[in-house]
Amino acid sequence: MAGILDFAPAIVLLPFVSFLVALAVGDRLPKGGALAGIAATAGSLLLAAATFLTVSGGQTYNATIYTWAEGLNAVDLSFGLLIDPLSAMMLLIVTLIAFLVHVFSLGYMNDEGETGLPRYYAGLGLFTASMLGFVVANNLLMAFMFFELVGLCSYLLIGFHFREPGPPSAAKKAFLVTRFGDYFFLVGVVAVFATFGTAAFAGDGSFPVLAEAALNGEAGSVTTFGFAPQTWFTIVGLLILGGVIGKSAQFPLHTWLPDAMEGPTPVSALIHAATMVAAGVYLVARMYGFYALSPNALAIIAFVGGFTALFAATMGVVKREIKQVLAYSTISQYGYMMLGLGGGGYVAATFHLMTHAFFKALLFLGAGSVIIAMHHNENMWDMGGLKDKMPVTYYTFLSGSLALAGIVPFAGFWSKDEVLYETLIHGLGGNPILLGAYAMGLLAVFFTGFYTFRMVFLTFHGNPRSQTARDPHGVGWNVKAPLVVLGVLAATAGLVNMVPVEKLLGIKGIDFLHQWLDGGYASLTAHHYGELIPYSSSYIGSEATTVALGAGISLGLALAGAGLAYLLYDVPEPIRHTDRLGRIKTLLYNNYYQDEYQVWLANGVTRPVARAANKFDGGIVDGVVNGVSSVSLFSGSRIRRIQTGVVSNYAALLTLGLTALLVAFGLLGGWFV
C-alpha cells in the first residue's frame, strides 16, 4: 500500500535538494537560494505533519532502503527509515524550526546585506537534511553517519564569517571537541555490531531487544567478550554516551558551545533548538531501551545531566552578551534532559526536548532580532529600553523567557517540572545519586530564573544605554512572523502534557504526550521503558502531595530567581551587581577555567605523548625501513661493478662459472677419486 509513510524519505531529501540547488545555482537565484531552502523545508514540514497524522492513526514504518554492504556470515550495513511516534514528533519539530529559521534568515542575512548567501543556504539545507536523516535512522550506524554530517555542517556554519579571526577558530573547536566524543561513539557502534551482530533500533532482532533477552538469561547470539552481560552493556552504553556528551554539550565537553555563538544567530537557533545539540539527547531517547537495562549508565547520565544543568546555569549569571547567556542556558537545559533520561523520565525528557526546541529557537531568533536592531552589537550593557521600540520582539521574547525560567503555565514549566518530578520519585525510591542530581537540578532552577530575567531586564527594560538602543534599526515581517509562531508555541506547548494537573485534580487523559509515546513498536513504547528502568518510586506522603511539593518548590525557586533579577535589574539605570561577587565572578566569567584546563591537557599532556610517539615512529620504525633500504643500496653499488658492458668480460664470467660448476660437480660427485 502506498501510504503517506512511503514518502517519508522525501522529508530528508527535500532539504538535501535545496542544498544542491543553493550550491550549484544559488548565486543566480534571487535571495541567494533562500527561496529554494524555504520551499524545501516547507515541503518537509507539510510531509512531516502528514506523517505525524498518519502515525497518530497507529501506523508505523520500519524499512531498509538500501543495503550498501552485505556478506555471508557478516553483518549487513544499510540505510533505513524508522517512523514511530518519537521520530515523527521529532521530524515535526525539526522541520518546523528549520522552516522558521530559513524565513528568519531572510531578515537576518539577506536584508542585512551579507555576502556568501548561497554558501549559507547550502549549509542550512545540508544541516537540516542531516538532522532529519539522523532522526529517521533505523540503525545505529546510519545514525552515526548522519551524526557526523551534523557535526560537519555545524563546522561549516559556525565558521561562516571565515574572514574574521573568531569564527574559524570557534568552528574548529566545535568540530574537534565533538569529534573527541564521537570517537567513543564510533567505538561504541563497532562494539554494538560485535556484540549483537545488528544495530537496528526497532523490531524483534534489534539490539535493545537482544540485550534485554540476554539479561533475562536467554541464550542468543550475543557476544560479551568475557564480561558479564550487565557490565558489558554498561561499557557499550557509556561509549555511545561519549558522542552524546560531545554533541549535547554536557560537562566536560561543553566548551565548544559558547564559542559556537560566533556563527550567525539563525544558525545558533538551529543548532541549539532542533539540530546538533538535540541530536545527542535524541540518540539516548532513541535507544532508551538499551540504556534502561543498565542502572550504572543511567545513574551516570543523570548525574552528568544534573551537574551540567547547575554548572552551566551559574556561568550564565555573569555573561555580558545576550547570545552567551542563551548559550549557557542551552547547556543547562540539555543537562535537564539528560537528568530526565537518567532519572527514568523518558517521556519527561522527550517533553523537555520538545518544549525547549520551541522556546530556545524563539529566544535565539528574538536575540537575532535584537541584534539586528542593535546593529550587531551583542553586549546587553549597551541595550536597555527596547521594550517600547520593538513590542513584537519583546512580548515573544518574554514568552520564551517565561518558558525557559519555568514559570507556570508556559511550556518550560511543565516539562522541567516533570523531569524533576520523575527524578525525585525515583531518587526517593532508594537512589541517593538521583537525589543528588535532583538537588543540583533544583538549584539550577533558581539560577535559570535569575539569568533569564537579568537578560530580559537588561535588554528590554530601563533606559537606553547607548545611541543605537535609543534609535534601533527596525525589523521586517520575516523576522516577526517566526517569532510570533514560536511565541505562541512556547506559551502553549506545555499544555500537551499537563501531568501535575492530572495527578492533582484527577482529570484523566490530559497527558497526551504519554499516550503518544505509548504508541508504535512494542519494544519502543514509554510503557515498555517504564517496566525496564531499574528504579522504584516512592512518594512524600501521597502521590499528589509529592507532585504539588515538587512543582511548588521548583516554581518557587524560579520565581525567587526571577524576583531577584527584578529587584536588581528592573531599574532605569541598572548597575553591575555581579561585580559584588568579586573573585567568584572572575571564576564564573572565565567559565571555571575549563578552556584553560583543556588547552593545558592538549598542550601539557597530549603533545608530549604525541612527541614521544613521533620520536618512536621516526627513530625506530622509520629507522628499520631506512636500514633495509640503505643495505640494499650499498650492496647494489658494490655489485654493479661487475656490469662492465664489455661482452668479453661476460663471456669470461660465463666460462668461469661453468668451470666452477663442473669442478663442484666433480668434487661432490667423486669423479676425481
Binding site: 658492458g645 668479453s648 666460462t655
Partner: protein, 100 residues
C-alpha cells in the same frame, strides 16, 4: 674403425679453440666465427656418438644444429651490422653503453 676417443679429442680441441677465440678476440666477426667453431665441436660429438651407437638420432640432431647455426649467424651478422653503424667499428669492447 676409428675409435671414438679421436673424435672426442678433435671435438674438445675445436671447442677450446672456439672458447679461446671468444675470450680473447675483440672483433665481433671473429667472435661469431669462434661461436661457430664451438657449435661444430658439439656437432662432431653428436655425429661421433651416433656412429658409435649405431643410432641415427644423433645425426638428425646434427642437421638441426646446422640449421640452427645458420639462423644464429643471420642474427649475429645483423647484430654486427648494427654494431658497426652505431660505433663505427666492430670492436666489442667499444660498445659499453648498455650498463648501469
Amino acid at each position: 674403425m676409428v675409435p671414438p676417443e679421436y673424435y672426442l679429442l678433435l671435438s674438445a680441441a675445436v671447442f677450446c679453440i672456439g672458447l679461446f677465440g671468444i675470450l680473447t678476440r675483440r672483433n665481433a666477426l671473429l667472435i661469431l666465427m669462434s661461436v661457430e667453431l664451438m657449435m661444430n665441436a658439439a656437432n662432431i660429438n653428436l655425429v661421433a656418438f651416433s656412429y658409435v651407437w649405431g643410432n641415427v638420432t644423433g645425426q638428425t640432431f646434427g642437421l638441426f644444429v646446422m640449421a640452427l647455426a645458420a639462423a644464429e649467424v643471420a642474427i649475429g651478422i645483423g647484430i654486427v651490422l648494427v654494431l658497426y653503424r652505431n660505433f663505427d667499428g666492430v670492436d666489442v669492447t667499444e660498445a659499453t653503453t648498455m650498463r648501469w
